[in-house]
């Protein structure tokens, strides 16, 4: 929603630049990670995922990198466009109390100026 962006770290880029959004995850046993994009007034949308047996996965204009040694995940957006402006969340699959559920990071706001 429109208030989601308050209190968030913000990355400001120019149109056409490459963007890198970072995320530190908490659980070394997590085996699945997802990046979501949330535009103002909308629910989060799936962008790309990666399993822990991989360290890189590419989609259309997006790449996710996973560094399990330091528990770090990054999302790279090539040739960033104004339509990429949104809040980006990473999520990790955590197994607890007999169930696996996704736990979300607090998000990073990406602002793309023309």
């Amino acid at each position: 929603g429109e208030s989601v962006g308050l209190h968030l770290p913000t990355l400001s880029v120019q149109e056409g630049d490459n963007s890198i959004i970072n995320c530190a995850y908490s659980n070394s046993a997590s085996d699945y990670f997802i990046w979501y994009k949330q535009e103002s007034g909308k629910g989060p949308q799936f962008i790309i995922d990666i399993r822990s047996n991989m360290d890189k996965r590419q989609g259309q204009r997006v790449t996710v990198l996973l560094n399990k040694t330091v528990k770090h995940l990054s999302l790279q957006i090539a040739a960033t466009q104004p339509g990429d402006s949104a809040v980006y969340f990473c999520a990790e699959n955590i197994y607890a109390a007999g169930y696996s559920t996704l736990t979300f990071g607090k998000g990073t706001m990406l602002l793309v100026s023309p």
Partner: protein
């Protein structure tokens, strides 16, 4: 186009009212979830359900209950709404519990 539909986009309720937030998915997913989203706190899991009539508490279940009488519908209930429950509520569904979730557009609830 597959989707998760939340019945209300905006709601304003009074303190002490019983509030129902409805969510319907058309993907035949086993799993459904309710999150609330607050500035600075991100998405926090309230309850989830892995099958009809089954429910599990998430991280912040206090003050909430849920109902899943049919596979496609998952309702969040605020038994007695309080001002600290003013928030954006997001419903999601998934094929597997730890897999990718599809989210609804959210319900922005204001309790006055």
């Amino acid at each position: 186009d597959v989707k998760v539909t939340q019945s209300s986009r905006y709601l304003v309720k009074r303190t002490g009212e019983k509030v129902f937030l409805e969510c319907v998915q058309d993907m035949d997913h086993e799993n459904m979830f309710w999150y609330r989203q607050d500035p600075g706190l991100g998405l926090r899991l309230i309850y989830f359900s892995y099958d009809v009539k089954m429910k599990e508490k998430g991280d912040i279940p206090e003050g909430y209950s849920v109902s899943r009488e049919k596979k496609e519908r998952f309702s969040l209930i605020l038994e007695s709404a309080s001002t600290n429950q003013t928030s954006m509520y997001l419903c999601a569904s998934s094929f597997s519990l730890g897999g990718g979730y599809t989210f609804g557009s959210g319900t922005r609830l204001t309790v006055v």
